[in-house]
């Protein structure tokens, strides 16, 4: 199937007006009109401009009661609000000092992390005693969250290729008191791990970061449509490799901090074309609006199964933009 059409964006008058009003590139405005429709697109862009507060994950490996941690931080002047999607995730509406400089942070009582990122690990639902792979894992938000849900039992293989990022990953593993991790310095595409040996796999794939525009407004004008095309090719390679790590019956999460269908539903569609053993599991979370995956974009029809994937947006779920899709290797 020829997918070139997906990357050929025709820019409308409405998109030009929108791009001027909100200060973003016209091709992005056009894509947002396609994603949301004219009624919803402004709601999305307003939410992006308003931004969302930073959030923290309470580390239940060492904190007996997250309520106690919240009280302690509130005494120091922080204003904190619980997430509806992740019960041990909290928005920090006011920071009297930087969240990274508190004693509680240094003690490993919390990790500064987006709620969308946390939600991807909730969707993966790793269980105590399992063997889990976290690919492209630095700086370790998901590895340490997986360890938290496994209560430091079983094993986690955490892989990243970049030595500087690995140092951050290991520092975070130590700070968060995680004990069940092996860290490999490796390129996922060349790693020699035994295929078919993992109960669960997390692939938070490298992406263009289009979901992070709530934090980084410069993302409105720093990427081109060609970046999306190149990234989606790389993401497909990673997904096909990562899926092979799974045992038959095992599950994986393909996630990105991007809302681009080109990096998400399109990648899943192509992977489904190539892998008969792959199926998409319904990805829904308590407390979320549970916006389904997009099945058609810019005139290209994706596989129907992708509607089972989950999209998070700032205007629907008060999170950074995130895509989460649960995949299963058939028995």
């Amino acid at each position: 199937m020829n997918y070139d059409r997906l990357f050929n964006i025709r820019i409308s008058e409405e998109a030009i007006k929108l791009s001027r009003r909100f200060g973003l590139l016209p091709y992005m405005a056009e894509r947002y009109i396609m994603m949301f429709g004219l009624d919803e697109v402004e709601e999305f862009l307003r939410a992006v401009h308003n931004g969302i507060p930073r959030s923290i994950r309470c580390n239940k490996l060492v904190v007996k009661s997250c309520g106690d941690l919240v009280s302690r931080l509130e005494k120091e002047g922080f204003k904190i609000r619980q997430s509806k999607i992740v019960p041990y995730g909290y928005y920090v509406d006011y920071e009297p000092v930087s969240l990274g400089s508190t004693v509680e942070h240094l003690l490993g009582y919390y990790f500064i992390q987006g709620i969308g990122s946390m939600a991807s690990v909730v969707a993966l639902s790793p269980q105590p005693g399992e063997l889990v792979a976290d690919l492209a894992s630095a700086p370790g938000g998901k590895t340490t969250h997986i360890a938290q849900l496994m209560n430091n039992t079983g094993g986690i293989l955490s892989i990243d290729v970049d030595a500087r990022r690995l140092a951050k990953l290991v520092s975070n593993i130590e700070r968060m008191h995680v004990r069940n991790v092996i860290v490999l310095m490796a390129d996922i595409l060349n790693v020699k791990v035994n295929e078919g040996s993992f109960d669960r796999v997390m692939l938070d794939a490298p992406c263009t970061g289009e979901g992070l525009i709530v934090y980084k407004k410069e993302r409105f004008f720093t990427r081109t449509i060609d970046d999306l095309r190149k990234m989606s090719e790389y993401q497909l390679k990673l997904l096909l490799k990562a899926f092979k790590f799974l045992k038959p019956g095992g599950t994986m999460v393909y996630a990105t901090c991007s809302i681009a269908p080109e990096e998400n539903e399109f990648v899943i569609t192509r992977a489904l074309d190539e892998m008969d053993e792959m199926e998409v599991i319904e990805t829904r979370l308590d407390g979320a609006k549970n916006v389904p995956g997009i099945t058609e974009f810019n005139g290209v029809r994706f596989k129907d199964e992708v509607k089972n994937c989950l999209r998070l947006y700032p205007h629907t779920d008060s999170t950074e933009g995130f895509f989460i899709c649960l995949l299963k290797r058939k028995e």
């Binding site: 004693v103 791990v193 035994n194």
Partner: protein
């Protein structure tokens, strides 16, 4: 006890175990969560790790298939090229949490003293000192939370490693 050979391989390591045991003995402590002691050479140091049996086995299998192991289980400390064992923050946290270190080797710092310590600064103590000169001590705050390792010098505590280093050396 010098580091005998520089190696990049992860190994089950008697030298690391001896150094860890000897350090724990010197501070009247024991660690019950160290099923296997593994060593990994890193720069001028040999890093010493504690791991559960199954995790250690998996790490060795991965290494045998050609992978580079960067970390496994819990970092217990490191051994420098003069054979001196430097305990990790994780080891201190573990010992304080499990209450397996003698109170004679624990110093409690209050308020601003605790803050100074986690900024990596030497702390002048107001209270009387009964500790042995040069001795390694685990430093905790009033809530009993582990802040780092220090060394006694007269009426001062010199930080060896403190939890502030998690953010000071991030990049």
């Amino acid at each position: 006890m010098p580091v005998e050979e520089k190696r990049v391989r992860l190994t089950v390591c008697k030298e690391g175990k001896r150094a860890l045991d000897s350090f724990l003995k010197s501070i009247d402590a024991y660690n019950k969560n160290c099923a296997v002691v593994l060593c990994l050479f890193s720069g001028e140091k040999m890093k010493v790790y504690c791991a559960q049996q199954s995790l250690a086995q998996l790490a060795m299998t991965l290494q045998d298939s050609g992978e580079i192991i960067y970390h496994v289980g819990m970092l217990a400390g490191s051994l420098n090229n003069r054979g001196v064992f430097l305990p990790s923050l994780e080891l201190g946290w573990e010992l304080i949490k499990a209450n397996t270190i003698s109170g004679r080797n624990v110093v409690v710092l209050e308020g601003d003293e605790a803050k100074e310590f986690i900024f990596g600064r030497t702390v002048e103590l107001v209270s009387e000192m009964n500790w042995e000169e040069g001795k390694a001590v685990a430093v905790i705050n009033e809530q009993g939370e582990f802040l780092g390792w220090g060394k006694i010098r007269g009426k001062r505590i010199i930080p060896v490693v403190d939890i502030g280093s998690y953010v000071r050396y991030k990049d």
